[in-house]
Symmetry: none
Subunit: 205 residues, 2 copies
Amino acid sequence: MFLTKKQLEILRFLRSFRNEHAVSPTLDEIAESFSVSRVTIFEHLKKLEEKGAIRKRKAYARGIEILHDPDLPEERGKSVETLEFPVLGRIRAGSPLEAIEDRETITLSELIPHGQNNYLLRVVGDSMIEDHIQDGDFVIVEKRSVANNGEMVVGILEDNEATLKRFFREKGRFRLQPSNPNYPPIYTKTLEIRGVVVGVIRQIR
Amino acid sequence: MFLTKKQLEILRFLRSFRNEHAVSPTLDEIAESFSVSRVTIFEHLKKLEEKGAIRKRKAYARGIEILHDPDLPEERGKSVETLEFPVLGRIRAGSPLEAIEDRETITLSELIPHGQNNYLLRVVGDSMIEDHIQDGDFVIVEKRSVANNGEMVVGILEDNEATLKRFFREKGRFRLQPSNPNYPPIYTKTLEIRGVVVGVIRQIR
DNA sequence: CCTTTCTCTGACCATTTTTTCAGGGGATCG
DNA sequence: CGATCCCCTGAAAAAATGGTCAGAGAAAGG
């Protein structure tokens, strides 16, 4: 993805505006800040969207979302520096084959999906055991109200109870599939999806 | 500041909408969600603003700001850039039992053992699958040269190869036990322990 | 030179969104 | 009862915001 200079400037402006005002700016506001016309900004935003840097919906006021932030690495580094881990390479859990060699570091923010829309849930029970999520694990959940088939979702059933299952849309109903042969799937006509599991964290005593 | 029931509901809706969409809702969107007219919402918001719970500017699309969140103790604006996650409670992976209710936050540094002596390894292979560590997972390893029976260790064998196994001290030898019935244990007389697994992190695509 | 890319414009229209106006109904309390 | 909240309505005005159209200049590169 190659952004022109102007596009990059606009992207930066978007971010800083959001930081300050908690909402995205309008075309006019961006245009005024750059002393150009609204149409110019409109075109730039179109390009930015084509390039996948932002998302905007049709006729949706103040609805520009930043998908890719070009400055992020440095900015994150500050507050996360204490949470940096060296990655000492790969280890073969099967037969011993690969030695520990490479050296790089990784910050947890790279490794762990983190954002306004993520939260943790502690897992109770073993119904997702074949997905290697065990009792006591924390799952990182991204808040979403829709899911794709096969994704692991946090769903609210009719009786207002929350559960963690794999999601499948079937004819006229939803199937919530445990990944444990000892548990039957749950079928429901109404389902509120609260989020999708994007990560797992486990502490070993 | 005394909020009526409806006002509280709306405030909660504002928050959840923002969580999901990254922008504030319009009057219409709120109105539709509550199945009332736009004007009704307008009035409610006016009251909410008088009471200091939100801020909205004149004719400013999607510009409602939440000033006071009744469900949140006192935490505004703090945890954006730090690696703090809200923990929204527990979820039962077995049968759906517990709803999502409690609200607290946890920082990753609490959750993830972190220190000068810890590093990450990416796991290749499935020999630890019954410990629910799968191919591609990162394990957090605490540097240590000794281990207790049963701990999961990173060991270097005589041929200078690294492996991840459970550690057992036996008569005159060590046993490195995969947690996968398809793999046999490894017996060795000399073993260099590089560390002990204290955590697991998994990203889900 | 020609073509392409990037930047830009004024004028105008379409749609979304907020705001006002002019009310109605029900509940509670003195 | 009368006064006061709270919750609600449809219709229409008034902003604001987003989008389209038909161009234009300037720079870069073949």
